[in-house]
């Protein structure tokens, strides 16, 4: 058992597609909350295997996409810190700020480095005691524990030169905001790895109060198809529950160890989501005890954030109210090499995946 290739078997997936066809009665709209699901769907051409009656829209589940422009400006500002090193996951390099992104800042001489793990950033700090390392903590609950571990490690090593700028966000408040704002979506394919950490429990209000079925799906093409099948079954049968397709990775309680570490280091705060606005209690900030590791205290620039370009419809795309194809800027002013809003930035942003994989077709 390799836990991977088995779930990409052609016949297996053909079987699930046939099952979906059999069960599907009427039209439904499903949202994959998570950007990695969007990529998986497009990359394997899964939409071409689904009946036309089934509509898939992409939700806000891209932590890079939804970092506010002001936050990007703050990361770019840290590039100016004397003897500073900005350490970041690759995803953040091309996110547009008011004047530039981190890649452009790097081209202008700032020491900005891509790391694979938060521990790599701690390592950088340890090996370069005369420099200040600023780690960009971006991501949802899947990634926040890794940042927490890094802060704890920095404390253990008594590092004076490691700092984190937390742009972390958590999921349940934004799903609530989405539902409260009104949505066309009938059911949710829920993020498998976020739920590996937080468990499926926090999704229960969506099913019980809002009456929208939720299936927590894995990311292999077989997982995604199976999760879609389970959602269609719930919808056709009039049920609204939280089900686990990805039970090999997810439980109801989640990973209590990772959650505890996250909770030790971070507490929640209101935070701005690009394209959506302020979502109460949706951001993670360092607890006072760890204030000395907070990079925000060291940001010295006068940040003047420009308003969003006119015509950018990311907010609507993120809410599933519009497909990228319907946005007036898509493929014109807004392209991967010159992204206007966050949806075009990350390789998993709805608009970026539409651009790369959908070609001229309607997905």
């Amino acid at each position: 058992m390799k836990f991977a290739s088995e779930f990409r078997d052609r016949e297996l997936i053909a079987n699930i597609a046939a099952n979906i066809e059999k069960v599907l009665g009427r039209e439904w709209t499903l949202m994959e909350f998570c950007g990695t699901h969007t990529v998986s769907i497009f990359r394997h051409g899964l939409k071409s295997m689904l009946p036309e009656k089934l509509k898939l829209v992409s939700g806000p589940g891209c932590p890079v996409c939804v970092s506010s422009k002001r936050d990007i400006d703050r990361t770019v500002c840290l590039g100016d810190y004397p003897k500073g090193i900005v350490a970041t996951y690759g995803d953040m390099m091309k996110v547009p700020g008011s004047t530039m992104n981190l890649a452009e800042k790097k081209a202008r001489g700032a020491d900005i480095r891509v790391v694979y793990s938060s521990y790599d950033a701690v390592d950088l700090a340890e090996k370069n005691p005369d420099r200040k390392v600023f780690f960009m903590g971006v991501g949802f609950e899947t990634t926040a524990p890794a940042s927490a571990a890094a802060v704890l490690k920095a404390r253990e090593l008594d590092l004076k030169n490691f700092h984190i700028l937390s742009l972390h966000k958590i999921t349940p408040p934004v799903i609530a905001a989405l539902l409260e704002g009104g949505t066309e979506v009938d059911g949710f394919i829920c993020p498998g790895h976020v739920c590996a950490i937080i468990g499926s429990g926090p999704l229960e209000p969506v099913a019980e109060v809002w009456k929208k079925p939720c299936v927590v799906g894995g990311f292999e093409p077989g997982d995604v198809m199976q999760a879609i099948l389970m959602l269609v079954e719930q919808l056709e049968e009039g049920r609204s529950e939280v089900e686990l397709e990805y039970f090999r990775g997810v439980s109801r309680e989640g990973n209590t160890n990772a959650l505890a570490m996250m909770d030790r280091v971070f507490t929640t705060a209101d935070t701005e989501w690009r394209g959506i606005g302020t979502v109460p209690g949706s951001g993670l900030v360092l607890r006072d005890e760890f204030a000395r590791f907070d990079a925000s205290a060291l940001i010295e620039c006068d940040i003047e954030t420009t308003p969003d370009p006119p015509g950018c419809r990311c907010g609507d795309v993120l809410r599933g109210r519009m497909t990228p194809l319907e946005c007036p800027l898509f493929r014109k002013a807004c392209r991967p090499e010159s992204p206007v809003g966050p949806c075009m930035v990350s390789s998993e942003g709805s608009c970026s995946t539409y651009y790369l994989y959908a070609g001229d077709d309607n997905g």
């Binding site: 059999k22 069960v23 990695t36 932590p63 990775g249 160890n257």
Partner: protein, 71 residues
């Protein structure tokens, strides 16, 4: 979100753990994992951290459900 892939633990000595993803070997951390994992176990690897221990039975049961022919 997010990219996490199955990785096989091949070395474990105190805090030093190495995992193999189809021939690519990397140092990883087990500090975030939900239950103990030993050499020979598969874990879900995300950004250098194991976030979950994978069980063969769960994977096999999932495949069984996927092979089910409806109707």
């Amino acid at each position: 979100m997010c990219l996490a892939i199955p990785a096989l633990i091949v070395e474990k000595e105190g805090n030093k753990v190495r995992a193999d993803v189809g021939g690519v070997v990397r140092d990883i951390s087990l500090e975030l994992i939900d239950r103990p994992a030993e050499i020979g176990d598969y874990v879900l690897l995300h950004a250098g951290f194991a976030i979950h221990k994978l069980e063969k039975e769960d994977a096999e049961e999932t495949l069984k459900l996927m092979r089910d022919v409806l109707g």
